[in-house]
Amino acid sequence: NKNFEDVRCKCICPPYRNISGNIYNRNVSQKDCNCLHIVDPMPVPGHDVEAYCLLCECKYEERSSNTIKVTIIIYLSVVGSLVLYMLFLLLIDPLIRKHQPYTQQLHNEEDAEDIPPQAEDALDRGSTVLERVEGAQQRWKKQVQEQRKTVFDRHKMLS
């Protein structure tokens, strides 16, 4: 199936005398990709074939439809999961976080300064994998917030 769909030989023949332009399209191997093989119901009589074929342009083309399929699907799934995660962060995360005061503090300290970062360190030093991931996530969120302030609020960069 792959071989069938992924190669083609396309001949474009311009208008010639009273014959209008035409496109011929067949999937053959590269070796056979020439006007004589592809233009099947030859629209001109025998002695004109050579002249007609001189005008036609035949191109052998390959593609990989699997690559296209996989690429598009990967892309869509990444976008989808990102959108979901974004919605989660926007809508659901704040609701959960309400019950965790120290994270809340971190989350809201945007304009406060000089807060001793022990809380954060405690997160980093978490002994279980889950806590570490949590800590990394918190740090990442802080960083994104910082970036957002730099770019969107203060307009210090990228404006």
Binding site: E5, I12, C13, P14, P15, Y16, S20, G21, N22, I23, N25, N27, A51, L55, E61, R63, S64, S65, T67, I68, K69, T71, I72, I73, I74, Y75, V78, V79, L82, V83, M86, L89, E109, D111, E113, I115, P117, Q118, D121, D124, G126, R132, G135, A136, Q137, R139, W140, Q143, V144, E146, Q147, R148, T150, V151, F152, H155, K156, M157, L158, S159
Partner: protein, 811 residues
């Protein structure tokens, strides 16, 4: 890290363990050999074995460097000289070790080849990502019009790829591909179908744009914009943590596709450079050699910039020259060779993916080889003038709009702005065939030379001579224009206006946006219009003396596609002020030397005209708008000021400058030092023999000093505020019964750069540029007078150019 990124006096930034790349995850992976700042309130500490690590390092506290010394804060400038020295030390160490054991020899060989391996990885990854972007952007652009029933993942062209129902005049039409109108109302023609298609087009465009700006805002705000101004600044030695991180990479790749597909007047070329640099930075983390050295990392990033252009235009040599001419700051010959390698690998990766199905790396590859006549240089120069004028005006308008966005209320609604501009773009674009198609397709159409095989409206000529069948198809004579061409010209004129206006508002919005494609589109439209005009002129007036001799009747003397190409080059040159790299990129697009002269004439004219109207290219203008600390290498410093006019404190103590804060090499107590450091905001302190003689010993950086003092207070016993701080070598004898001395010679830079106060600033600027200094001390007859930092120089240059010196934000 709150609110502290822009001032110098916090050394405990949370992310010092992770240079420039974002933090999540990285600490888990690489924490063992990344320099970490130990101690509790030094911010984030490596989570793996922090305590035992700290204990082990306590032993060799004064022999080895204190951890954290020698790293940089966010939004600061690196010291190239120090970084390069560090790398040479590393080299020497490996070279010495490699003579001792086979394992070390292997290690040294691996070290030598790791640069090439890294380049290979960057090429592969960037090529793959560019392929992904090309394929998906193509598909999503077509998604605005319809969908393929054979498989939703096919774009319009691939949907009809195997179809036998395509005709000569409607090459993309096949039953498998359904427009939204066909799917929703069942008809493909008429007013209802048009309205449905129109609505769907606008809706999809709005959805894509909204998604793009939301994702950028939510996950990686640094992913917006073109990225080239920031990368130029980073390559000159600035540090922006997270700008080239993993999240930026992912979000920029994804939102770039969305932004391009939304039909906005933007291109993917600039962002591709950013994406390639992100790849390079992420991959640098796999190699200690590059991870730990900011200067080496910048060499790799220079190569990555070349890779970005290489995949964007399928022009490896042009990419390398682009990196050399436009982006890079420090570009040794080794980098030249490596970036060429990386650019080639990327180009071949992309070609093997074959995103456009034509074995080319770009949609608008040019295949004609029609000759041109010397007299045609006049219209080419005219196109150059147009490109220059447009480029200069565009820069002014865009900068004015961006300044408005930066300073007024407009900047508070980035999402709304994007949506509004997208709405306007989509509503205006749909009715006009030439604005509805994507920028690259438009350029491809305009570059195309009309042969008998073409059926587009632009090739609708009246065929008079039906008998010339034996000639090869690319030698068609000039023919009179048909009705289709006339209407196409009108549409093109409107498209020109549309592109010219909307690009001004689009570039700089909070989505990934490149400038190359829109600029080229503007130029290509103008060029094609001129080309067709010239062709018709030559056809109808082939007896004018002007055309006689080279353009007789029946000759193929004017190629409108060539005019479009020249116009595109001119406009791109006017906006970016690229020269050699632009010509070489275009040369690689055509693959023949025959068009270099027209391209060169247009580029040169365009650059001269644009330079006469405004000195800066778009990237420099954006750098200045944002106040990045970038010392332009191309600009000559032409004023006759001396170092004494720029240094701080100014000679004679004018202007209320604080006095120069110096440390004595002996005889200051820790308390005095801390008071001095705490009371000022300087990022470095000169150390002198004594306060009276002011004879310079060396320079100590604030960050290093604070870290070392803190470290000693914590780990060295008996250090109190009354301890003496000693920089001299050999140290003076320890005072009996007194607290132990704090010996800090190890953090003292014994070879600070000095200039005399009479040194002309032009030489000082030259030294800063070429050696990549952060600061320089000023002496007079051997006495220390003051200090000049990079920021001082930038402020001085701004002042000399009658600009606001406070626009320089960063250090």
């Amino acid at each position: 890290m709150e609110n502290s990124g822009f001032c110098n006096d916090n050394y405990n930034s949370g992310t010092s363990d992770d240079d420039m790349v974002d933090i999540s995850g990285a600490t888990l992976d690489f924490s063992d050999d990344v320099p970490q700042i130990e101690g509790d309130h030094f911010g984030a500490v490596s989570s793996s074995g922090g305590v035992t690590n700290g204990q082990a390092k306590l032993m060799d506290l004064l022999d080895e460097a204190v951890p954290g010394v020698g790293t940089y804060e966010d939004f600061n400038t690196i010291d190239w000289v120090r970084e390069k020295s560090k790398d040479r030390d590393r080299h020497r160490e490996i070279a010495i070790k490699s003579k001792q054991s086979y394992w070390a020899l292997l290690h040294s060989v691996n070290d030598a080849f790791s640069g090439w391996l890294l380049m290979l990885c960057i090429g592969l990854m960037s090529g793959a990502l560019a392929g992904l972007i090309d394929i998906t952007a193509h598909w999503m652009t077509d998604l605005k019009e319809g969908v393929c029933l054979d498989g939703f993942w096919f774009n319009h062209e691939h949907c009809c790829w195997t179809s036998k129902e395509t005709t000569f005049h409607e090459r993309d039409k096949c039953p498998q591909w359904r427009s939204w109108a066909e799917l929703m109302v069942g008809v493909s023609e008429g007013a209802p179908a048009y309205i449905v298609n129109y609505l769907m087009y606008v809706c999809w465009a709005l959805l894509f744009a909204f998604l793009a700006v939301s994702l950028v805002r939510a996950f990686a705000p640094y992913a917006c914009g073109s990225g080239i101004p920031e990368i130029k600044t980073i390559l000159s030695g600035f540090i922006i943590r997270g700008y080239l991180g993993k999240w930026t990479l992912m979000i920029k790749t994804i939102t770039l596709v969305l932004a391009v597909s939304s039909g906005l007047s933007l291109g993917k070329e600039g962002p591709l450079v950013h994406v390639a640099c992100c790849c390079a930075n992420v991959l640098c983390h796999l190699f200690a050699k590059y991870r730990l050295n900011e200067a080496k990392k910048r060499e790799v990033l220079s190569a990555a910039a070349a890779v970005g252009v290489s995949v964007a235009f399928g022009a490896p040599i042009g990419g390398v020259l682009f990196s050399l001419e436009e982006v890079s700051y420090y570009f040794p010959l080794k980098t030249l060779w490596r970036s060429f390698f990386a650019a080639l690998v990327a180009a071949f990766t992309l070609r093997s993916i074959n995103p456009f199905g034509n074995s080319r790396l770009v949609l608008f590859y040019v295949e004609f080889h029609a000759p041109w006549h010397l007299l045609e240089l006049a219209p080419f120069v005219l196109l150059g003038v147009f490109g220059g004028i447009w480029g200069a005006l565009f820069i002014r308008a865009n900068i004015a709009w961006c300044r408005r966005r930066k300073t007024t209320r407009l900047g508070r609604y980035p999402v709304l702005e994007v949506v509004a501009v997208t709405l306007a773009t989509a509503v205006l674009a749909f009715p006009n065939e030439y604005t509805r198609m994507s920028g690259s397709e438009l350029i491809s159409e305009l570059f195309n030379d009309c042969s008998l095989l073409d059926s587009s409206k632009l090739c609708d000529y009246v065929n008079q001579d039906a008998a010339n069948i034996t000639k090869p198809s690319n030698e068609l004579p000039d023919r009179p224009a048909g009705a289709g061409l006339h209407s196409a010209l009108w549409q093109l004129s409107l498209a020109l206006l549309f592109k010219m206006v909307l690009t001004v508002f689009t570039f700089g919005m909070k989505v990934p946006s490149g400038l190359f494609i829109p600029s080229m589109a503007v130029g290509a439209i103008a060029g094609r219009l001129l080309g067709v005009g010239m062709e018709q002129l030559a056809y109808y007036h082939h007896d004018w003396p002007l055309f006689k001799g080279w353009c007789s009747q029946g000759a193929d003397c004017i190629t409108p596609g060539l005019y479009a190409m020249v116009g595109a080059t001119a406009c791109l040159g006017g906006v970016t002020r690229m020269t050699v790299s632009l010509v070489v990129i275009m040369f690689e697009l055509t693959g023949g030397l025959e068009y270099i002269v027209p391209l060169m004439a247009a580029t040169m004219t365009s650059k001269w005209v644009a330079d006469a109207l405004g000195r800066e290219g778009i990237y420099e203008a954006h750098i200045r708008l944002n106040g990045y600390p970038f010392l332009e290498a191309k600009e000559e410093f032409g004023h006759k000021t001396l170092a004494m006019d720029v240094m701080r404190p100014r000679a004679g103590g004018r202007r209320g400058d604080p006095p120069l804060a110096t440390l004595s090499q002996e005889g200051m107590t820790l308390g005095e030092v801390e008071a001095l450091v705490g009371g000022t905001k300087f990022s470095g302190f000169p150390v002198v023999v004594s306060q009276e003689s002011q004879r310079l010993v060396g320079l100590v950086l604030r960050r290093d000093l604070l870290i070392s003092i803190d470290n000693s207070r914590k780990h060295q016993e008996g250090v109190v505020s009354a301890s003496r701080v000693v920089f001299s070598d050999p140290p003076p004898p320890q005072v009996e019964n007194g607290p132990p001395d704090l010996k800090l010679r190890s953090i003292l830079d014994l070879s600070p750069f000095t200039v005399t106060d009479h040194t002309p600033m032009e030489i000082v600027v030259d030294i800063f540029r070429k050696l990549g200094l952060r600061q320089c001390l000023v002496t007079h007859n051997g006495r220390l007078l003051g200090i000049i930092t990079k920021k001082d120089i930038l402020k001085h240059m701004a002042q000399m150019a009658n600009r606001d010196p406070d626009s320089i934000l960063f250090n």
